[in-house]
Amino acid sequence: MDFNYTILILLLPMLSFLVLGLAGMRMKHKVAGAIGTTVLGIVAVLSYLTAYLYFSGGRSADGTFAKLMPWNFEWLPFTTNLHIDMGILLDPISVMMLIVISTVSLMVHIYSFGYMKGEVGFQRYYAFLSLFSFSMLGLVVATNIFQMYVFWELVGVSSYLLIGFYYTKPEAIAASKKAFIVTRFADLGFLIGILIYGYYAGTFTFEPEQQLLIAAGGMIPWALGLMFVGGAGKSAMFPLHIWLPDAMEGPTPVSALIHAATMVVAGVYLVARMFPIFIVYAPEVLHWIAYLGVLTAFYAAAVACVQTDIKRVLAFSTISQIAFMVVALGVCIGADTHEGLGYMAGMFHLFTHAMFKALLFLGAGAIIHAVHSNEMSAMGGLRKYMPITHITFLIACLAIAGIPPFSGFFSKDEILAACFQFSPVVGWMMSLIAGMTAFYMFRLYYGIFWGKENKELHAHHTPHEAPVSMSFPLIFLAAVTCVAGFIPFGHFVSSNGQSYDIHLDAQVAITSVCIAIVAIALATIMYLKEQQPIADRLAATFKTLHRAAYRRFYMDEIWMFVTKKIIFRCISTPLAWWDRHVIDQFFNFSAWSAQAAADEVRGMQSGRIQTYCIWFLAGALVFTLMLLLI
């Protein structure tokens, strides 16, 4: 089969970015938006076509889907073996990611029509969205780790640009800088990992020769671990998560696209991409990643329980859910379909989570659009005013809480099953965190749609349902959320490529559903009514804990302490001193000496030819003498 057209999936958004970026300011808002959306629509159609053709193309003899490279050209040759290529790789996970990215991106493009209406810089916004789509698509179809890195950085740049979209707001600027610096810092690890990997494996591709990897021995786990540092930065793993909550300063559709559905799962995708090497050469690193994921999931869930800004709640929920995927990948103990159940589960969760988390963010955007505030105190009782948003939001909440038959239930159940297979402790921890997820999501849900109505705020501006351009993506994503769970995902994606039938583990499923229902019930009791005595009393009793959780367990303060007090004062200040007083002075001295010498020499440059002639004759005589004497 011929997949040559897949290059269009990359080129079209790039082209759209160039057109909108260069000429967008001369266009009308609608034209610019229409260009971006149309391009993304074409990309989405092409992605679906690719997925259809790829998966209907049949399996090869060993029961896996073939890895195809319709495009691959040498970009930077270093040696005959070591060269950086650019190309398109089609395999089950990249095709799956193509669908996720193009779907969510298309929905966000449509949604932004309504959400960003009338904003200054509307065209710029669409240009950046195109740039982001281009980079993210390039990232997932990367044929080698270096191409992935290049697009990884491009994704970071577009994320930076979009977080700082409201560049007149100081918070937005601070947030964009924070996101960029934190992820760049993490990417340093990624780059070092790539270089170590490239040095020992002799290639940047994902399938190096076995002997080289075996010969490299202890270095491969280091390389993979360092790569994961980059992934942890992008995927907001503890303790590098601090940028993600602040990134919510960007426009809400951007949060839905970049900081919920696509870019933040790049780290998960990276681990999945390197999974065959991880599982054979560095299983212990994989398990450490799993423990880190458990910690992150728990931490983020705990923080999410007390936040009052709805986008912050969703941000921490995202961190927690990504940690679920990371844990799922980390608990794999073998490459075959059964031992590698977590791989399939993680990818499945990535898929479903992208849909319902985008839905949640878009719903939150609709709510913010209606009440012009992020704070839960400004909301309450909105179900009467915004029925569509209400229903779709509820569906997403049920999905993330893990209630059947919504998609989140299936993927989360597989993750929990994989965790129990690895170790009961991890399994129970993850079940507990799943319960917390259900709790905080319904706290959010009740806080927005039920509870006390903020009358004085509504007095002069009644909240109303969002326009069609905004509600259509909500309905579409809600529909996907309803049916995505029934996709036989194991047939398409599994750890070794073989087909795998998802079968629900009854014990795990019942346990997790029970926990979820209990958590939802708890949230209902605490937050359904206008008065919330239990919640208030709990907050008062555990005042310190509540406060700590509200302040995100002081992680930002700890980072500030580490950077400002320790790094700046103990390392940067002496370095700056050294720079100013030793290095600068050295160059000042050389400049001064050159100037002084030139000042001396300048006297000779009198411009008088006769003087020059004396020098000339003297020089000639010196040479003659030298010839005579030597």
Binding site: Q610, T611, I614, L617, A618, L621, T624, L625, L628
Partner: protein
């Protein structure tokens, strides 16, 4: 001690040339410098005669003594430059120039003395026949100089035009 007339003439001319050439560059008056130059040029012509190159000597007299020195005298009078020749030059420059000159002269004289020119007698070929010179000048054979001759003619023409162009009044 049989000094021939030719030798006597040579030594007298040599001493005069040396003295006048030094005076040319040290005298305070530029008209005098031009006059001393004229003497040196006469001496040079005498040298050519002694060597037997009578044609060359005649050309030297005509072109240099008759043409160029007159040109100098005219331009000296035109540019009113007699006053400015006495301007003092810097002491350090004078010292540097003298030093270089003395070293250079010593070096060249040393080389001449030590080179061991063995030929101290001119082969008695007498003077060159005018006919021979004329044939060589317009011959295109080996040892024929028609090309340089023509080129020199063009050069002189160019100089004439160039000199007129540069010096004319605007």
């Amino acid at each position: 001690m049989d000094i021939t007339l030719q030798q006597t003439v040579f030594y007298v001319v040599a001493i005069l040339m040396s003295v006048f050439s030094v005076m040319t560059v040290t005298t305070g008056s530029i008209l005098r410098a031009a006059t001393y130059l004229l003497f040196v040029l006469f001496g040079t012509a005498a040298m050519y005669f002694i060597l037997g190159y009578t044609f060359l000597g005649a050309v030297q007299l005509m072109v240099y003594a008759g043409g160029i020195v007159v040109l100098y005298v005219f331009s000296i009078l035109l540019t009113n430059s007699d006053k400015s020749i006495n301007l003092k030059i810097g002491r350090s420059k004078l010292v540097a120039a003298l030093f270089t000159i003395i070293i250079g002269a010593a070096l060249v004289l040393f080389l001449i003395w030590t080179n061991g020119f063995a030929l101290n007698v001119i082969p008695d070929s007498g003077e060159i026949a005018m006919r021979e010179i004329g044939h060589a000048l317009i011959s295109s054979d080996k040892y024929g100089y028609v090309l340089p001759f023509e080129v020199a003619g063009v050069l002189l023409l160019a100089c004439m035009i160039g000199g007129l162009l540069i010096a004319r009044k605007r």
